[in-house]
Amino acid sequence: MANVTWTTVENEVGSGGINKMKLMVGGALLAAAVLLLIVNAANGSTQLYVTVEEYHQRQERYEGRDLRMGALVVGDSIQYIQLTDTTSRLEFTVVDTYNNPQYEMQVVVMNEPRPDLLQHEATALIEGHVGEDGVFYVNPGGLLLKCPTRYEEADPAQHIGKQ
C-alpha cells in the first residue's frame, strides 16, 4: 500500500480556486441529473388516488390504471380461501362510509397473509387495478391497514360504547 503524504496548499487559496461559474454549472448539472432521475422514477410508479364513489362515477376513466384506494372494510365480507397448497385468495368489501353507502368495491388479494388489522372499521389502503369484472385486484404487497392505536376514533365514545 502506498504511503501517502498530502500537500496542503494554503498559499494558493487566494490566487486560484474554483470560480463561482464553475460551481454553479456543476451544481446545475447535478440538479438536472437528479431531476431526470425523479421524472424517470415517477413515470410508471404513480397510482391515481380514488375513493369508491369516484371510481364508480367515472369508471371508464379509471379502467386499467394503477389505482390507490383508501376505504373502510366491511367486517362481515372478509373471507380467506385456501384454493390450493400454494394459492390463497383473500376477499373483502370496502366502502367510503358505513352510513348508507351508495357504492361498494369488492377487493381480492392473492397469495398474501390476512393482516391482523383487517377487521370491521379498519381503513384499508389498497394498490392495484380494477378488472373487467369490477373487482379490485390488489398488487403483491399492495394491501396496507392503518395502524389503529396511533390514531384515535373520531368519536371515542362511539367506539367504547360498541364493546
Binding site: D116, L117, C147, T149, A157
Partner: protein, 668 residues
C-alpha cells in the same frame, strides 16, 4: 382531582411560556437583564409544571380513570403496568403532552447552562424556545387536551393496540421525539444569531453537541422503528417509504447534511448561509413531519386520525419558515465570505458534494411524500408514488454517497494532489474488484445492481478501515505504542474524526445488509399438513403440529411447532404463533426466526384450519445479511457516542480561552 391538578398545571405552563416569550423580547429589545432573567426563570418553571401534568396522566392510566377520554382510548384494566405507563405516548393527546415534557426537559437543561461567550444571544434564544414550547402547550391545552372528560364513565378502556406492545415500539417514539425536540436548541441559537446579525460560527460551536445528541436520538428512533416493523408486522421488511417514515427520515437527512457542512464553516469560515439554511430546513422539516403525521393530510398506515390541529401546525410551519426566510434576506450581507473552494479535489468540495447528495435525497423524498398534494394542485388528480419511485431515485444517490464516504476522508483541506489520490485509491480498487469477481462466481451474484453496490460498499469499507490502520500505524511508529494502546489513544485523541469514521463504518455495514435483503430475499407461502415440509434457501422446515393454550391477560395462543433443518441438520425448533386478545377480538401474528450472522429464516402462520384439518399455511422468508442492518446500526450509534463525547483536549482549550478572556477584565 389528580386530573384537575394536571390540567391546571398544564395551563400554568402555557402561561409561563407566554410570559417567557414576552419578557425575553423585552429583555432583548430594551436590553434589560432583569427581564431576561425573569424569562429564564419562567422557562425553568415549565418543566416541573409539565412533569406534574404528565404524572397526573400516568396516575390516571395506572388507576384506570376512564372518565378521561384519553385514558379510555389507550388503556384498559388488564394491561400490564409498564404498558399503562408507556400509553402516555400511545395516542395523539398524550404523545403531544409527552412531546411537551421532553421539550421542557431540554429547555430546562439549556437554561441551566452558562453559555459563556454567547451570553448576548440568550434573550433571543429564550424567545425562540418560549414561542416553540408555547405553541406545543397551546395545542395540548386547547386542541388535543389529554384531560378532556367523557360524558359517561365506561367500565373499561379499549386498551393499547397489541402491535404497539413491543419493546421497539415502546422506545421508538420517545427516541424520535427526543431527536426532534433537541434540534430546537441549535435552531434557537441560529435564529438568535441571525436576529443579532452575528452569523460567525459561535452558534455552531456552542450547539454542536446538542445537534449531535438530537441526531443520535433521531438515528436511534429510525433504527428501532425498522426493527419493530421487522419483528412485529410480519412482512419480512423494515422500511416501506411510508409518508410517516419519510417524515422522520427527512429531518435526519437535513441534520446529517448540516453536521457535515458545519465542519467547513469551522475550518474555513465558508458556507455560513448554507449552514443557517440547513438548520432552518431541519427545524421546518421537524414541524412539517409532525404536521403530516398528526393532521391526516396525507394518507398513511401510521398516521393519526384527521385532527383539528392540522391547520395550527401548518400555520406554525409557515411562521417558522417565512420568518426565518425574511431574517436571512435581511442579513444577507452578513454571510459574505472571502474564502472560496480552492479545488474540486479538496475536503471542502467533498463536503459540498456530500451536501448536494443528501439534499437531493431529501428533495426526492419530499416530492414523493407530498406527491398526492402536488399532483392534485397541478393536475387536479390526486396521485401517489410507491416504493419503486424511491428505490429508483434514492438507490443511485445512496450509491454515490457511499462512494464519497470512502473517498472524501482521503482529501485534504484546500487542495489534494490528483496523482496521490489516484495512488491511494488504486490498490483498494484492485482488491475490491478481485473480491467482487470471486463473489460473482462463488455465490453467485446476479444482475448488475448488486455487484455494483457491493463493489462500492467494499471499496469504501476498505478505505475507511485503512484510515484506522494508518492512524494506528503512525502512532505505533511515532510513539512506540502497542497496537491496542495506539488504536485506543487514536480514538480518545480525536473523537470527532474517528467517531465519524465509526459512523461511516456502521452505515457501510448496514448497506451490506440492505443489499443482501433487497436483492437476495427469497419467500414462499405454502399449506402444509402435519409431517410435510417446505424448502427455502438452504433450509428445510417440517410442520409437526399445532397447540392452543391460554396466555397472560386475556390471550388465546395458537402455536405451530416446526423443525428447521440446515442442509439436513436440525438447527432449531420454531414456534410462530397467533395471539388473540379475546376481549377485543384483536389477533396478533407473532413470527419466529432463526437468526445467524449470514441470514434469517423467518416464518409466520398465515392460516390455520383447526385441529381436525391438521394443516396450516405458512409464509417463510430467507433474508440474507439482514442482521448486518442491525449490527451496522449498533456500530453507527457507538460511533455517534464517540463523536459526541466531550473531548478532554477541547475542554482544556476552552477552559484556557475562558481564563485568558477573563484576565484583561481582572486587570481593568
Amino acid at each position: 382531582m389528580i386530573a384537575d391538578i394536571g390540567q391546571i398545571s398544564l395551563l400554568i405552563a402555557f402561561g409561563a411560556a407566554a410570559y417567557a416569550a414576552i419578557a425575553s423580547l423585552v429583555g432583548a429589545v430594551q436590553n434589560r437583564p432583569a427581564a431576561t432573567a425573569s424569562a429564564r426563570n419562567a422557562i425553568l418553571v415549565i418543566f416541573p409544571l409539565v412533569a406534574v401534568s404528565s404524572a397526573a396522566i400516568i396516575y390516571s392510566l395506572l388507576a384506570g380513570d376512564f372518565s378521561l377520554q384519553y385514558v379510555a382510548n389507550v388503556s384498559s384494566l388488564g394491561m400490564p403496568t409498564y404498558l399503562k405507563v408507556t400509553a402516555l405516548w400511545g395516542g395523539q393527546a398524550g404523545s403531544l403532552l409527552f412531546w411537551n415534557l421532553l421539550l421542557a426537559v431540554f429547555l430546562f437543561a439549556a437554561m441551566l447552562r452558562q453559555w459563556r461567550g454567547e451570553e448576548h444571544l440568550i434573550p433571543l434564544v429564550i424567545f425562540v424556545l418560549a414561542v416553540t414550547q408555547g405553541f406545543f402547550l397551546l395545542v395540548s391545552n386547547f386542541l388535543e387536551n389529554p384531560f378532556t372528560r367523557l360524558p359517561f364513565i365506561p367500565a373499561d378502556g379499549q386498551g393499547l393496540n397489541p402491535l404497539l406492545r413491543h419493546p421497539g415500539m415502546i422506545i421508538h417514539p420517545p427516541m424520535l421525539y427526543l431527536g426532534f425536540v433537541s434540534l430546537t436548541i441549535p435552531y434557537a441559537f441560529a435564529m438568535a444569531s441571525l436576529i443579532k446579525g452575528d452569523v460567525d460560527d459561535g452558534w455552531i460551536r456552542i450547539t454542536r453537541r446538542w445537534t449531535l445528541v438530537g441526531w443520535l436520538f433521531l438515528s436511534l428512533g429510525l433504527i428501532l422503528g425498522g426493527r419493530w416493523a421487522y419483528d412485529v408486522l410480519g412482512w419480512g421488511g423494515y422500511w416501506a417509504w411510508d409518508p410517516v417514515e419519510n417524515a422522520s427520515f427527512m429531518p435526519w437527512l437535513a441534520a446529517t447534511a448540516f453536521l457535515h457542512s458545519v465542519m467547513i464553516q469551522e475550518k474555513r469560515g465558508m458556507f455560513r448561509l448554507w449552514n443557517m439554511g440547513l438548520i432552518i430546513l431541519t427545524f421546518c422539516l421537524m414541524i412539517y413531519g409532525t404536521f403530516i403525521v398528526r393532521s391526516g393530510v396525507i394518507t398513511s398506515v401510521h398516521s393519526f386520525a384527521q385532527s383539528p390541529i392540522g391547520p395550527y401546525f401548518f400555520g406554525f410551519l409557515c411562521l417558522v419558515f417565512f420568518g426565518s426566510l425574511v431574517l436571512i434576506i435581511l442579513r444577507l450581507d452578513q454571510f459574505k465570505s472571502s474564502h472560496h473552494i480552492s479545488s474540486f479535489l479538496s475536503r471542502e468540495a467533498a463536503f459540498l458534494f456530500n451536501n448536494y447528495i443528501f439534499l437531493s435525497i431529501l428533495v426526492a423524498t419530499f416530492i414523493g411524500t407530498t406527491f398526492p398534494i402536488l399532483s392534485e394542485l397541478v393536475t387536479g388528480e390526486k396521485m401517489n408514488v410507491g416504493e419503486p419511485y424511491y428505490e429508483k431515485v434514492n438507490g443511485p444517490l445512496f450509491a454515490a454517497l457511499l462512494l464519497l464516504m470512502g473517498v472524501a476522508p482521503l482529501t485534504m483541506w484546500y487542495r489534494s494532489s490528483a496523482q496521490r489520490l489516484q495512488m491511494s485509491l488504486r490498490w483498494p480498487a484492485l482488491v475490491t474488484t478481485i473480491f467482487i469477481a470471486v463473489l460473482y462466481f462463488v455465490i453467485p451474484l446476479h444482475g448488475w445492481g448488486s455487484p455494483l453496490g457491493l463493489w462500492i460498499i467494499t471499496f469504501s469499507t476498505i478505505l475507511t478501515l485503512l484510515e484506522f490502520g494508518k492512524g494506528t500505524h503512525a502512532r505505533m511508529k511515532g510513539k512506540g505504542e502497542s497496537v491496542w494502546v495506539a488504536f485506543s489513544s487514536l480514538m480518545a485523541r480525536n473523537r470527532r474524526r474517528y467517531g465519524g469514521y465509526w459512523i461511516h463504518l456502521g452505515v457501510l455495514v448496514m448497506a451490506f445488509g440492505i443489499i443482501g435483503v433487497e436483492f437476495y430475499q427469497q419467500q414462499t407461502q405454502i399449506r402444509l399438513a402435519t409431517g410435510q415440509s417446505l424448502s427455502l434457501g438452504r433450509y428445510t422446515m417440517t410442520f409437526n403440529g399445532m397447540r392452543e393454550y391460554a396466555g397472560a391477560d386475556d390471550l388465546l395462543i395458537t402455536e405451530a411447532n416446526l423443525s428447521l433443518y440446515d442442509n439436513g441438520r436440525l438447527v432449531k425448533t420454531l414456534t410462530p404463533r397467533n395471539e388473540l386478545y379475546t376481549r377485543t377480538r384483536q389477533p396478533m401474528t407473532i413470527p419466529d426466526l432463526r437468526a445467524t450472522i449470514g441470514e434469517d429464516f423467518y416464518v409466520l402462520i398465515v392460516n390455520w384450519e383447526g385441529f381436525s384439518a391438521n394443516a396450516a399455511t405458512f409464509r417463510a422468508y430467507f433474508n440474507p445479511l439482514i442482521n448486518w442492518v442491525w449490527a451496522g446500526g449498533f456500530i453507527f450509534i457507538i460511533g455517534t457516542l464517540i463523536a459526541a463525547w466531550p473531548d478532554p483536549v477541547d475542554e482544556k482549550v476552552k477552559a484556557a480561552a475562558q481564563i485568558s478572556a477573563l484576565q484583561p477584565a481582572a486587570g481593568d
